[in-house]
């Protein structure tokens, strides 16, 4: 496998930094790494593989020699710059929502639909963390017994809103404990000691963009247009790790033990489920882990054919950085993402 020239856009953000760490840890073969970010970060330096690398401005020239451009910036930045990178000949792996809904843009979880990488026309998208963890759990079950309907309520951490949100939570917590009132910036209301049922913009149907995205992206990754999904997305005062309470209705009766057996062998999944000693996944405990964790597996007492689960994964590491790297690895190994030099040869 030829080494690749990789550019990382949004390199100084939470996910960008996490990706640099993952790239290093997983020893993915790169011939060069360029770090790009908005003006405020230009001039700073980040370490990669024991070398200090300067952060550069996001200019079109930056993609000249780039084989793969990883985008961990805002949707706005992706919308403006991804086409520039593609025109310069780079394959883009994008973590934003800018293109994830477009029909000819593959949305990939390598454990589920790696072949979709081959269909890319320059852009491959990384799904939303909740859609990712939901599809990693649903897909193996769906192969065995088709899933008809999913109801999901989320408990999402602030880190998905970036480093400023981590700061905001810490600041507000201290203010509340010291008796001060807080002044929200990142969220519409106080997040310290509070929960907010608002993630993303509100749509006309009363759902939020995030809630809609979970439904659409889960179906797209699983190639399962017929699954009905209704989500309520809630921000909770947690730093890292997104959790979900998930009620699944299957086509035919589904034994919780069968669910356990299937998930025990499922790629990327780890079961933590022993009620007798209060064992179940928790965001604090699974933070920094590469698996999707599932527990509290039980029959839904309100529905025949129903099963209830509790799912947790690290939204930054597992949900964003590691999945993006796995798309890159899978694409490079299978020859779907290749060095420009090879293409030109």
């Amino acid at each position: 496998m030829k080494k690749l020239n990789v550019a990382i856009v949004g390199a100084t953000g939470l996910v960008g930094r996490e990706f640099i760490k993952v790239l290093e840890q997983q020893r993915f073969p790169v011939s060069s790494v360029r770090l790009l970010d908005a003006e405020h970060a230009v001039g700073s330096e980040l370490f990669f593989d024991h070398r200090s690398i300067p952060v550069e401005d996001i200019l079109p020239e930056a993609f000249q020699d780039t084989d793969v451009a990883m985008f961990f910036a805002s949707t706005d930045v992706s919308r403006r710059i991804v086409p520039v990178a593609v025109r310069a000949g780079a394959v883009v792996i994008d973590n934003s929502t800018a293109f994830s809904g477009e029909e000819d843009v593959p949305l990939v979880v390598p454990e589920i639909n790696p072949e979709d990488i081959s269909l890319n026309k320059g852009i491959i998208c990384n799904p939303n963390c909740t859609a990712l963890q939901l599809s990693v759990i649903l897909n193996p079950l769906h192969q065995f017994n088709p899933v008809k309907r999913v109801i999901i309520s989320t408990y999402q951490s602030v880190s998905s809103s970036g480093a400023a949100a981590l700061k905001e939570l810490t600041t507000q917590i201290k203010q509340v404990l010291d008796g001060y009132r807080v002044c929200p910036h990142i969220y519409a209301h106080q997040i310290a000691f509070n929960v907010l049922p608002e993630i993303g913009l509100f749509l006309d149907n009363g759902y939020t963009k995030e809630e809609q995205r979970i439904a659409e992206e889960t179906r797209k990754v699983m190639h399962a247009d017929n699954i009905s999904i209704s989500a309520t997305c809630v921000r909770v005062p947690v730093f890292y790790g997104d959790s979900s309470a998930v009620h699944i209705e299957f086509d035919s009766p589904m034994n919780p033990d069968k669910v356990r057996n299937i998930l025990a062998d499922a790629p990327g999944v780890r079961i933590i489920d022993d009620c007798s000693v209060s064992l179940y996944p928790q965001p604090w405990a699974v933070s920094g882990s590469s698996r999707v964790f599932v527990g509290r597996i039980r029959r839904d007492i309100s529905k025949s054919n129903g099963v209830v689960l509790w799912i947790v994964a690290d939204n930054i590491y597992r949900g964003a950085a590691l999945n993006a790297l796995r798309i890159l690895e899978e694409g490079a190994q299978r020859g779907w993402i290749i060095s420009k030099k090879i293409q030109e040869e």
Copy 2:
């Protein structure tokens, strides 16, 4: 209405203190108030109506002249002492789970089933906060269009676990921010910056006691045995206020506007629902309020006849203390709870 002699068991706990405040605020006519609590609190004094009242030991003699005994202690204390109070001739209003499941013990939300108070044989129970808020919202809708199934995921505050849990959350928060590890006492795991899908003991079917209780108590209060309810109960790092994401399936199609109209006129309910300016109920904001708040009212995109809601109420004030007082008020006004002296005349 004859004034009553009231004894408050568990007077120094979170709910006990809140009840004393509510009793004072609502100017319920008492002729005497006795404060009872476990040994560690005996000798301390609490203020009621500008008088300092000593906290006494929970001894059988304490109920001699008591017309009504309010129980805000643990389930264990209720199990042991409620029969003693009943034998002494007091009517008991119990906030624990000790007797709430028994067939001949009424479980009352005065907005819904006040007449059940008249059926008491000495004990009337106060429901669990989540069952209370769920039934206050479901009941008026159910009258219009029968509810078939409810899926509820909760975001429950630590105050339901008592004053020690408030302290544990604050202590752990400080420890985490200062870089220390935490040592959980009240909960099985860290609650600071974490969420725990465990409230109450685990049952054989994989649900917890709290999840089962929500289903059973909601049906009992509403006299609606046919509603299927499946709950996932989750503790979140919030001081006061329990929230729930609720998916309701009705017998026939239900327009969200109709839901809004019905709830606008429903007793004890307040709608906060304007997505255009990020308005929805939040536990921090509704803390200390006497209503059950509802927002994010929308059609369930995964089910015809389905509606999704977000419900929040103060678990200590609204869910426990105020409901207990309303049972007492309603019972006293309607002559179902009366002074022993009148009974003897």
